[in-house]
């Protein structure tokens, strides 16, 4: 009979536990719901227009843009040509920044990794440097640099480079931690310098991962570079801002820029997806689903 009592005991304990767990979950859920609703109300109060008034007119602006753009449909190809140089500038900002940041991040991440660092005592310094570079939002740096350097693509490029160095540096140093350190011993034994050890011993191991992260970052940076254009640095974001703040009458331009940006983002996303897939899984790609 003792078997039955012990089963009963376990059963009671089990239900006790379940009950406890359910109460905790319910409390957590309650707190979450209260936070969501009260947070929503606070934000709704502080907004210029309320949620319920705006939700009905959410498609008004897209409709106006589409209507005006379709009225002037014959002008759209010309506008594509007109804004293509700014699009190239936006892409160039992202590309140059990603490239420069990758180079900085390679060195900084190696200096911040145990076993590879040239000055092991300074590892925490380089780590914190990367953390801080990552934490400062790029638009802040861009706005400050616009004040010092004037408008144009250079502030945006420097700002994105700065932030990307921090972001990539962290990812790269995670890759570095998984790299084998044995080639370094071999290279040390033949008297290689630190630079040679890194270039010949580490880089070949980690370059596919580096490349994949850098591509991912390039994708993100194109979007950021468009946003930075919107706050004053050059490129297509700047044109978009001008077209939109002009209001009706230049919505055909806004529409054309919308399309250009959207298509560019999609193309870059897809291409980098294919490349990254190949880098991580070898040549055979499974398709894009």
């Amino acid at each position: 009979m003792s078997e039955i009592t012990s089963t009963q005991k376990y059963e009671a304990e089990y239900f006790e536990l379940i009950k406890k767990r359910r109460t905790y979950s319910a409390i957590l859920l309650g707190v979450f719901i209260v936070l969501m609703i009260s947070g929503f109300n606070v934000v709704d109060d502080r907004n210029a227009g309320s949620f319920w008034a705006g939700i009905t007119s959410i498609f008004d602006f897209p409709r106006e843009v589409i209507l005006e753009a379709s009225e002037k449909i014959e002008k759209i190809p010309g506008l594509f040509v007109k804004f293509f140089p700014s699009l190239i500038e936006t892409i160039n900002i992202a590309a140059a920044a990603t490239l420069a940041a990758s180079i900085f991040a390679i060195f900084l991440s190696m200096l911040a990794t145990q076993g590879m660092a040239k000055w092991p005592r300074l590892i925490p310094v380089f780590r914190r440097t990367l953390d801080i570079m990552r934490a400062i939002p790029d638009f802040v740096i861009a706005l400050i640099l616009i004040f010092i350097l004037g408008g144009g693509p250079v502030p945006a490029m420097i700002a994105i480079t700065f932030h990307t160095t921090g972001a990539l540096g962290k990812l790269f140093s995670e890759v570095n931690e998984n790299a084998s350190l044995q080639p370094l011993d071999g290279l040390s034994s033949v008297g290689a310098s630190w630079m040679q050890k890194m270039l010949l011993g580490i880089l070949p191991q980690v370059s596919p991962n580096y490349f994949s992260y850098a591509l991912l970052r390039f994708e993100i940076n194109i979007r950021i570079s468009a946003i930075l254009g919107f706050v004053g640095a050059g490129g297509i974001g700047y044109d978009l801002k001008n077209a939109i703040s002009w209001g009706k009458g230049r919505y055909d331009e806004a529409g054309a820029i919308f399309i250009l940006l959207f298509v560019t983002i999609v193309i870059v996303d897809q291409l980098s997806g294919i490349f990254r897939d190949r880098l991580t899984h070898g040549k055979k790609s499974e398709g894009l689903l």
């Binding site: 979450f32 936070l35 969501m36 947070g39 929503f40 606070v42 934000v43 709704d44 502080r46 907004n47 210029a48 227009g49 309320s50 949620f51 705006g54 939700i55 007119s57 959410i58 008004d60 602006f61 500038e89 160039n92 590309a95 140059a96 490239l99 420069a100 180079i103 953390d131 801080i132 990552r134 934490a135 400062i136 939002p137 790029d138 638009f139 802040v140 706005l143 400050i144 004040f147 010092i148 350097l149 004037g150 144009g152 693509p153 250079v154 490029m157 979007r223 468009a226 946003i227 919107f230 706050v231 974001g237 939109i244 919308f258 940006l261 959207f262 983002i265 999609v266 996303d269 689903l289």
Partner: protein, 435 residues
């Protein structure tokens, strides 16, 4: 092994080495070529014309120091003293810091032996190791007398304006006003403004006052400091966190049911799956920027618009991530639940959800963390949170100490969320392994 084989092997190896060498030289050359192209197309040489070293200097100086203006209106003869020349930092008339003696001849001590005397109309500046400079503004401009010898380069003299810049400060004399700047390290009035009775008190004095029951008053004076607006800043940071919170979790709530509809193992109908996947792609592909613009038209500027922009874009991201997580669940658990006679809903509740919860939560946390950073940018565009305060401070182009303060706060905020979400995610992943 035949000679033939060795020959082919050798030529293969040579070829390989040739390619490797070409790569090793080709990549740096390509990078260099690209940078050269960017250098030219961004007109980097023209930067020296567009850029302004003066702006850079004033920015960096403002970040760690502040200046006190002593201004005399040369028509009326009034002297006003204010910190950073701001109205909020002006000393009440008749009061002055201890380095200024007001009187019929006011004496301004800039430190290190630099002394300036404001007379009835004229100004005398005694510069150590140089001598005595006398100047008087009049109707015809500014008259000035210097010690003998050539004029040093730190004195800038023209008919209507004399500017003397020394390491102790700056004296500017024009027809209308005579102005002295003295620079101090640190941020001015960070704790208390001049109208507070606690301004200029030391920490020990303040603690003893606090223990004597004045703590609430001290705190209010600090909290509602008119220059630094600590309460507004705290509120703005709260708003930024709130935007990120609503955006991330709102998106998760919308994406969660939709992800089931886009998962291969849950929804057998390919067209339905295709439809939802394309929706996810669309909301993700149309960037934050574009959504923000569209939503700002409907909802007006403010934090709600920012939160909604995050909801829309992250719905796409979460939809994709969640549906992938759902596709990767272990089918055995679902079968096990089914074998006990569970209905469809119960199968999802007990077979699928416990498996994906840790993965989903960790993804949500990761995006919450990145959205906190994003919320500062979006806040700058839609006008909400610390991003708005930051852009407002930058636009004034003079309050760089406030900009520095906000940047430090943002860095602290981002680092804190990084750390917290890292800890939580670690626990989630460990917890799911233990189960």
């Amino acid at each position: 092994m035949s000679t033939n084989n060795i020959e082919t092997l050798k030529s293969n190896v040579n070829k390989l080495f040739y390619f490797k060498r070409a790569w090793a030289f080709g990549i740096p050359i390509a990078i260099l070529a690209y940078f050269t192209y960017v250098f030219i197309s961004f007109d980097i040489l023209g930067l020296s014309e567009r850029g302004s070293l003066k702006n850079a200097k004033s920015l960096v100086g403002d970040m760690y120091s502040h200046k006190v203006h002593v201004t005399r209106d040369n028509r009326k003869g009034d002297i006003s003293i204010s910190i950073e020349g701001e109205k909020k930092g002006r000393y009440p008339s008749g009061e002055a810091p201890e380095w200024i003696e007001l009187g019929s001849t006011s004496k301004i001590n800039l430190g290190n032996g630099h002394l300036i005397y404001f007379g009835e109309k004229d100004v005398v500046y005694e510069v150590p190791n140089y001598g005595r400079i006398w100047a008087e503004p009049g109707l015809g401009g500014v008259e000035a007398e210097y010690p003998n010898g050539p004029l040093p380069e730190w004195i800038n003299q023209s008919k209507n304006r004399v500017t003397i810049t020394t390491e102790a400060g700056r004296l500017t004399i024009t027809r209308n006003r005579t102005e002295v700047f003295r620079y101090f390290y640190g941020w001015e009035l960070f704790f208390f403004t001049l109208d507070s009775q606690y301004h200029g008190k030391s920490i020990s004095e303040l603690t003893s006052l606090a223990f004597n029951g004045e703590l609430p008053k001290i705190m209010t004076d600090f909290w509602y400091n008119k220059m630094w607006r600590h309460s507004d800043v705290a509120w703005a940071i709260g708003e930024t966190i709130l935007m990120a919170f609503l955006g991330t979790f709102g998106a998760a709530l919308v994406a969660f049911p939709l992800a089931f509809l886009a998962a291969k193992n849950i929804t057998p109908l390919a067209p339905v799956r295709f439809f939802f996947r394309r929706i996810f792609d669309f909301t993700r592909g149309l960037d934050h920027l574009l959504w923000t613009i569209i939503l700002a038209r409907a909802f007006g500027p403010g934090p709600l618009t920012g939160a909604l922009a995050m909801v829309v874009t992250d719905t796409g991201t979460f939809g994709k991530l969640f549906s992938e997580a759902i596709e990767n669940v272990d089918k055995k658990q679902i079968d096990g639940v089914q074998s006990t006679g569970a209905r469809n809903i119960q199968r999802y509740r007990f077979g699928v959800i416990p498996q994906i919860t840790p993965v989903l939560l960790s993804q949500i946390l990761y995006y919450f963390e990145s959205n906190i950073r994003g919320a500062t940018v979006i806040g700058a565009m839609v006008g909400g949170g610390i991003g708005l305060m930051l852009t407002q401070a930058i636009i004034t182009q003079s309050n760089w100490e406030e900009v520095t303060y906000y940047i430090i706060l943002i860095i602290l905020l981002v680092t804190a969320t990084d750390w917290l979400s890292g800890k939580l995610r670690q626990r989630l992943i460990k917890g799911s392994l233990n189960n």
